[in-house]
Amino acid sequence: MILTWKVAVRAVLGPVAAVLLVVLVESGLLPGYQAYSVALAATYTILVLSVGLLAGWAGIWSVGHPALFAIGAYTVAYGSAHGWTSEPTVLVAMLLAGGCGAFLGFAGARFSVLYIALLTLAFSLVALEVINRWVDVTGGDQGVPVTDLPSVTGAGSLGAGGPEAVVAAILTAGIVVGIAVLARSTSLRMRMVAAKSHPVVARSVGIAPEAQSALAFGVSGAATGLAGALLGLITGFVSPETFSLTLGINTVAAAVLGGVGAVGGGVFGGIFLAFAPSLAGLLGVDQLILQGALLILALLLLPAGVVPALGSVLRTLLRRVRRPGEPSVVEPPDEPAPAPAAERRTLEVADLGVAFGGLQALEGVSLSVPPGEVLAIIGPNGAGKTTLVNALCGLVSGGRTAGSATFGGVDLLRARATRRRRLGIGRTFQHAEVFTELTVAENLLCTTRWTTPTRRRAVDALLGRIGLAGQGDVQPDQLPFGPQKRLDLGRAVAEQPGLLIMDEPFGGLDAEERRLLAGQIQGLRAAGTSVVVIDHVLEDLFAVADRVVAFDFGRPIGSGAPEEILADDRVRSSYLGTTSAQQPRASTGAEGPPAIALSGVTHRYGGVTALDGVDLAVHPGVVLAVVGANGAGKSTLGQILHGTLSPSSGTRTTDGDVRSSLVPEGRALFRTLSVRENLEVAGYAAGISGRDLRSRIDQAVEWLPERVRTRLSIPAAALSGGEQQLLAIARALIADPRLVVVDEPALGLAPALVDEVYGRITGLAEEGVTVVVLEQLLTRALAVAHEVVVLHEGVVRATGSPDDPDFATRAERAYFGSPVSGGVRAG
């Protein structure tokens, strides 16, 4: 934790306000019953703060806090009846409630948000029952009085609804608010938020979500126990109806209203909860209706809560007064300061295999990465690259592993995902998975448990190296995609890892950013870090890689220097395909107006451009193949052609009403539904029913292979891959479309099945249906389509007919992107 001036001022606000209130009470300016209301508001503030911060920081929503609140109150009652002194009693209350909370947090970490909420609900119900029945201690529904508790110091006593209790409650709340403000700037809070918003990524930076959840709920429970103790002290009497489930709901409502995760929101909520009855009386409405209605309105209109909403309005105003203009993104220096030296270790993978069920995703992989080497792994979609990364990162929970993978002698296959950070393994993500609820600097700070001044200076230096100097307080989602990826990289290298694993680091970056990234990777190599890079876009890899390993079908098929590997026939054909059997292709007259035409279509996801200025005409009755490597923008183009996705700019025009169906990548069947039911759903969606639907289904069934035709009642999950693909196409045909878009029909299929599937797809065109196939392999596209469009990084690089003898060469060059020129031959 760093005590900056701003934080210090904010932290003393709570205690100062509390002292002022105490002065008001003591001087008699506030009458007795008002003072009691203020003390009640103070205890509720602690309660709402516990609930709201737990929800906002750790992502745990609890309706069980009334039970923890009750534990505090009854502990005080018990202590007062047994002559305990006040301080130890309060401590016991906090320990009991905190212990229960920690248990709930630990047990609940295994569950999703909803289950943990229901778990706390059950806890609350059980607590209520125990309170009502355990009469010896709680007095049952009669309640139990709280008498004076002498202080352990011998100076005075607390309790029985006396003025000392009121003062104690107000001061305690002030201190708790102060502590909460301080806690905001600790690594502890950042790690909780990180674990909540992105558990998988959090593990990769060494944060264990279970531990965070138990810790957070424990602290929240202890604070609630403290609040309960104060409640017992200021009221002088504890009875069960206080701790009903309604209080749990009202507390959540107050926290949501004020703003979860904001300290000010907790204070607002606590005050609201204490004064809601008076407010309802003033307005002449039922208190519960007021609270329910405000809760609903807050969720609909101010989902962030009242206090954060006010805060952002204020900040906007202040900004306008102080300095016009947006903070600009500074580009990283061309010659980045050298990265601190890393520990030199070697990654050794020997005969590694990973199987999911019957699918062998990875087999017989052996490789060694010495310190300071950049190894690139390439291969088409489904080659096993991601599985390899996940195995190295400890994320293949569902699969069986064989062989070994060690880093510096430590077995990676047995080490937990969270241990990798300590072993010196960093990882970056394809989509720059930054923690969006933390600021840029906090994204880097959260990787260690303690925030020291040295650490903060190191983070500032790191921000400079990745070109984000001065951006530390910005929310990462306000940055463009490029800087977000640099932040992701910065987080991965924050502690000078010995090994850095990068998943598609170049994806989505522009030319200048790629150049910078290549420089950064070279800087890391110079510092002794080994780097494993996975990507589809070959040209970028070759700028940084010392060595390239090509994968296909889960095993390495070649290894060597970049220039050698691209000249390797097996590697080239794994991208381009080797389909030898030329499909008989009926030449259709692609005359007349296009069925669908795209003009100047550009599409962006967030800051990433998927398609850039695409012009395309799909003529009726043809098979059009759109070819490109993974990430070229094929699926986006398919969805735009289908009409379910509207492009960011550009137009889609159709020749009259063109009914279209999409067969998504990966087939997307309803796996638990039977074959017939899968077809029925499509009929329901198209508004077809009764006899009409039955006859359509009969037609579609005719189209399916024999083995499926006779087994319409088995679940779709039980079909083979090829059968599933045919069923997915049959399902698309139920709506009797004029255009069918089929996304990667060959993915994951054995070669014989691929030919069968493609045979049937081209058969559709002969029946007059226009077919658009999105395909990774160029040779296959050339073999089956009437027209081929080659996409490279969202741009149409070549269009033509396979019958044109020069087209294959042009298409191949376009497929790999222009810079790679050596060894381009006809496929």
């Binding site: 929503w61 059980v126 997307a668 039911e677 759903v681 499509a682 399902r731």
Partner: protein
């Protein structure tokens, strides 16, 4: 022996009510990702309206129909007014939203009809003697009507096109959207169905304990426990879980301690959950990372 038989039968009768409520919760959850905490209070409100029908002398049958209709309308109004504007994918916000609805519904009931319990007539009165055991006829009616309702739901979901579409949308909302299943229509049907089942559960349960504003709170929590057991995404899990909770609770009350029946039931449920977090019949798909 005959005592055990009685305890089990009356446990099944309570469990059938929990199962119906749980089924309603699961149907709504699967279709719309909303855990509908207001299910019980909206059904209770509907039963108060049904009580007015009874007091007009229109008979219990008409009252049951009225309760179901009112609950369905209430459910659709609530969904369109406050849940739909919330958007999709906001699991907890939706749960909190229904908590707010529940607060309002209970307050409205208390303001209009008061908090004193009212008697609500059973569908059939009297008792049946089976050997040496004497059973309330209403218990058997509860079991019978619930069984019919559950079978009807089962038929709808497994034998009709609409049912296929609803199961498809539950399995993968994204795929259902690609195929073109109308998401809003499926959501409305699910809410109507869920509320209808809840209202039916309410009119079956209320005669035994009397009609009060929070009369369905306890059954709702036991239905939750049943869903815990069965798995949040499983329909037959909700029914089996609910019935199991009903029987367990009655056994615990008769043979362990009448005072700590909730503690017993929830402790057992949580123990099972710690061993099998996805419930006995659920899938882990609800855990989104």
């Amino acid at each position: 022996m005959s005592e055990l038989f009685l305890v089990v039968v009356s446990g099944i009768a309570s469990g059938a009510v929990y199962g119906l409520l749980g089924l309603g919760l699961v149907i709504i959850y699967r279709a719309t990702d909303v855990v509908n905490f207001a299910l019980a209070s909206m059904a209770t409100l509907a039963v108060y309206v049904a009580l007015m029908v009874v007091q007009r002398g229109l008979g219990v049958g008409a009252a049951v129909i009225a309760a179901v209709l009112v609950a369905v309308v209430l459910g659709l109004v609530v969904r369109e007014l406050v849940i739909r504007p919330l958007g999709t994918g906001r699991l907890f916000a939706a749960l909190v939203m229904t908590m707010g609805v529940s607060l309002i519904a209970e307050a409205v009931i208390s303001d209009v009809w008061g908090t004193e319990p009212h008697a609500f007539p059973p569908l059939v009165g009297g008792t049946v003697t089976l050997g040496s055991a004497t059973l309330a006829t209403q218990d058997l009616v509860v079991i019978g009507v619930s069984a019919v309702a559950m079978l009807a739901v089962g038929y709808l979901f497994t034998r009709t096109t609409l049912g296929s579409a609803m199961r498809a949308a539950a399995e993968s909302a994204a795929t259902a959207q690609i195929v073109g299943v109308p998401a809003q229509r499926v959501a409305r049907i699910a809410w109507a169905l869920g509320l209808g089942l809840a209202a039916l559960a309410a009119v079956l349960y209320v005669p035994r304990v009397g009609l009060a504003p929070t009369v369905l709170a306890a059954p709702l929590f036991r239905a939750f426990a049943g869903i815990f057991l069965g798995g949040l995404t499983s329909m037959h899990g909700a029914v089996i879980g609910g019935v199991a909770i009903g029987v367990l609770e009655n056994l615990a009350a008769s043979y362990v301690s009448a005072n700590f029946r909730d503690t017993f039931v929830f402790a057992l449920t949580i123990l099972i959950l710690l061993l099998r977090p996805q419930g006995l019949f659920g899938t882990r798909s609800f855990e989104r990372v």
